[in-house]
């Protein structure tokens, strides 16, 4: 019976991963296709990469999107880490449940709603003097919208990291007279560093990928990479997009794997340190 269950699960995994990966692999294979007819194999060629790198507009879009993503990820980490810290460590306070609700809602909110509502906010701001938002929509408005969207992800990652770790280290530092800021910088921050790194990467990717919210909040002159891809794809399949997709997939794969290895290694070191500290504490005489 058990063997039959294992076979079933193995088949499910195999088909599931085939479903997830065949489309991506097909894009990679066809990016090296000589033929302009995307689905006919005309021999190996890297000419679509040449076409891509000669496409000025596309590269401008990529550069803009990368800059927005970097600003977004940094902003989302700053605000999101604070939110995660507050939700996991600050106990009960007035407005806590509201903060929790506002943090989780963007995770599932349909993008068209978020995009439309933020655009209307920016338009309304344009009439208010001294409003903290520029009159011209573009880089800044997209970044603000993306921070609002992605800080939820950072918060969830940081919060779940904090809730799996017990507070004794932080409490011990407090007992020894460290001020809260010092405790945060010296103890909490190093512990949640892996969560902050993955939160930053997550926010970066989500921002780089977003079409809908950017379309609503961008000005008429702003064209991010997803907006360029979307307008090209709408007209039909273009081999250039295959090349771009392959590059994006390769970069992300390398990044995720390297980050995964680094974080696993750091986690191991941290665990060993904690074990050693506990062993040392246990060796102390007459510990209550």
């Amino acid at each position: 019976m058990n063997a039959r269950r294992s076979t079933f699960l193995l088949t499910a995994l195999l088909f599931g991963f085939a479903f997830l990966y065949i489309p991506i692999l097909s894009v990679i294979v066809y990016s090296f296709n000589e033929s302009k007819l995307v689905t006919v194999w005309g021999g190996f060629s890297t000419k679509w990469y040449g076409v891509l790198f000669a496409d000025r507009q596309m590269l401008d879009g990529l550069w803009l999107s990368l800059r927005i993503a970097a600003v977004t990820a940094t902003g989302a980490v700053l605000v999101g880490t604070l939110a995660g810290l507050v939700l996991a460590r600050f106990g009960k306070f007035r407005g806590r449940s509201m903060l929790a609700a506002m943090v989780t809602a963007p995770l599932v909110m349909p993008e068209v709603i978020t995009g439309l509502s933020l655009l209307l906010l920016f338009v309304a701001f344009a009439e208010v003097p001294f409003a903290p938002v520029p009159e011209q929509r573009g880089f800044t408005t997209i970044a603000i919208a993306h921070i609002t969207l992605t800080l939820s992800y950072v918060t969830v990652v940081v919060q779940s990291r904090l809730s799996t770790l017990d507070e004794s280290l932080e409490e011990a530092a407090m007992d020894l007279g460290a001020r809260p800021l010092k405790v945060f910088l010296l103890i909490t921050l190093p512990i949640i560093a892996p969560a902050i790194v993955s939160g930053w990467l997550l926010a970066f990717t989500l921002s780089l990928d977003d079409l809908v919210i950017a379309s609503f909040t961008a000005g008429p002159q702003t064209n991010t990479l997803p907006m360029m891809i979307f307008s090209k794809v709408r007209l039909g399949v273009t081999p250039e997009i295959n090349a771009l997709a392959t590059l994006m997939v390769s970069v992300v794969t390398i990044f995720v794997i390297v980050a995964g290895i680094l974080m696993a290694r750091q986690e191991k070191v941290r665990r060993r340190d904690v074990q050693m500290a506990q062993a040392a504490a246990g060796a102390l005489p007459n510990r209550p």
């Binding site: 019976m1 699960l9 499910a12 995994l13 599931g16 479903f19 997830l20 990966y21 065949i22 489309p23 991506i24 097909s26 894009v27 689905t39 006919v40 939110a83 810290l85 996991a88 460590r89 600050f90 106990g91 407005g95 903060l99 929790a100 506002m102 943090v103 989780t104 809602a105 349909p110 068209v112 709603i113 439309l116 509502s117 933020l118 209307l120 906010l121 309304a124 603000i144 609002t148 969830v156 779940s160 904090l162 809260p180 800021l181 990717t205 990928d209 379309s215 609503f216 997803p226 891809i229 979307f230 794809v233 709408r234 399949v237 997009i241 295959n242 997709a245 997939v249 794969t253 995720v256």
Partner: protein, 314 residues
């Protein structure tokens, strides 16, 4: 050694009973109120504004000072009446979106459950690799992954070429711009969102429970239905909400893979806004969409609060 200005601020803050703690709470709180909550209030406001087709922005004011010093508040509910009456287009789009999202959620669940279960039962070293494989597509561009399906599903695409090459079919099957393509796209894109919460639930299950059930004579199917499935319901609900709610408002996938007649509400909203330039009507659609989704969002939030907040506060 603090600069005097900072010192002054600190003293002031202390006099008001403010501490660093308040500041830390205030930053995310104010950000979210400003950029998440207030925008919804504005959407509701604009949904009640009259449409103006000349000038920018394309809507009129709600408040007006009259000559004899009255503050006039005019609410235009025409935008909402339009949604219900005239042609049933909007109502149909709403129902159709709910149906598409529900069906996609069920298919995601059917594919994701065995996968998550398989990963949870794999050896620990395999588990991390498999999880990474689930997450990896999620890190790569969503737009590119949807685009990849165009290459597979087209009339002269990979699937049709393979089937014709094998002699299974003579004529290409039309798949692009059909409901089928749209369902494939949605299930494909949202699958990781279903697998991850299911996995994190199934991974925590105590295997000895199943062993006990088997020892007591339960068949594996019965043991699964009576133990694993009920225990995994929080994961099922979380995953389903993560798929269902955004899928109702999905725009990109229906636009790129679906047919011209597959009018999902996200697409309707987009067209009202960008093509018809009727911001008040688009806002009315958004308000109704939000009302439809309030219940699922609340279910999702309750689950989230229990998962993350509950642990921290015991």
């Amino acid at each position: 050694m603090q600069p005097p200005a900072l010192q002054w601020c600190a003293e002031r803050a202390q006099r008001w009973g403010l501490r660093g703690r308040h500041l830390v709470i205030a930053v995310p709180w104010i950000w979210l109120v400003l950029f998440f909550l207030i925008p919804f209030v504005i959407v509701v406001k604009i949904s009640l504004a009259p449409s103006v087709f000349v000038g920018q922005p394309p809507y009129g004011p709600l408040f007006e000072w009259t000559k004899d010093h009255y503050l006039l508040l005019k609410l235009n509910i025409q935008n909402y009446l339009d949604l219900g009456g005239k042609d049933a287009l909007y109502l149909e789009a709403f129902l159709y979106s709910l149906k598409v999202a529900a069906v996609s959620t069920v298919f995601c669940l059917l594919i994701a459950y065995p996968m998550a279960y398989g990963i949870a039962r794999a050896t620990p070293s395999w588990r991390n690799t498999l999880l990474l494989l689930v997450v990896l597509p999620f890190w790569t561009s969503f737009l590119v992954r949807v685009y990849a399906w165009i290459g597979l599903l087209r009339n002269n695409g990979l699937i049709n070429n393979v089937l014709m090459g094998l002699g299974i079919i003579d004529e290409p099957i039309v798949m692009m711009q059909t409901d089928f393509a749209m369902y494939v796209g949605i299930v494909y894109s949202y699958l990781p969102f279903m697998i991850l919460p299911l996995y994190s639930n199934l991974e925590k299950h105590d295997v000895t429970l199943l062993e006990a059930a088997t020892d007591l004579g339960a068949t594996p199917v019965r043991a699964f239905l009576r133990i694993t499935l009920p225990l995994s319901m929080p994961g099922v609900i979380a995953g389903s909400m993560l798929v269902f709610i955004p899928a109702v408002g999905e725009f990109v996938i229906p636009r790129l893979l679906g047919g011209t007649d597959s009018l999902m509400i996200g697409r309707v909203l987009w067209d009202e806004f960008f093509t018809a330039r009727s911001w008040p009507r688009a806002s009315a659609v958004a308000v109704l969409l939000l009302l439809v989704l309030v219940l699922p969002i609340m279910i999702f939030q309750r689950y989230q609060a229990r998962e993350s907040g509950g642990v921290a506060h015991r």
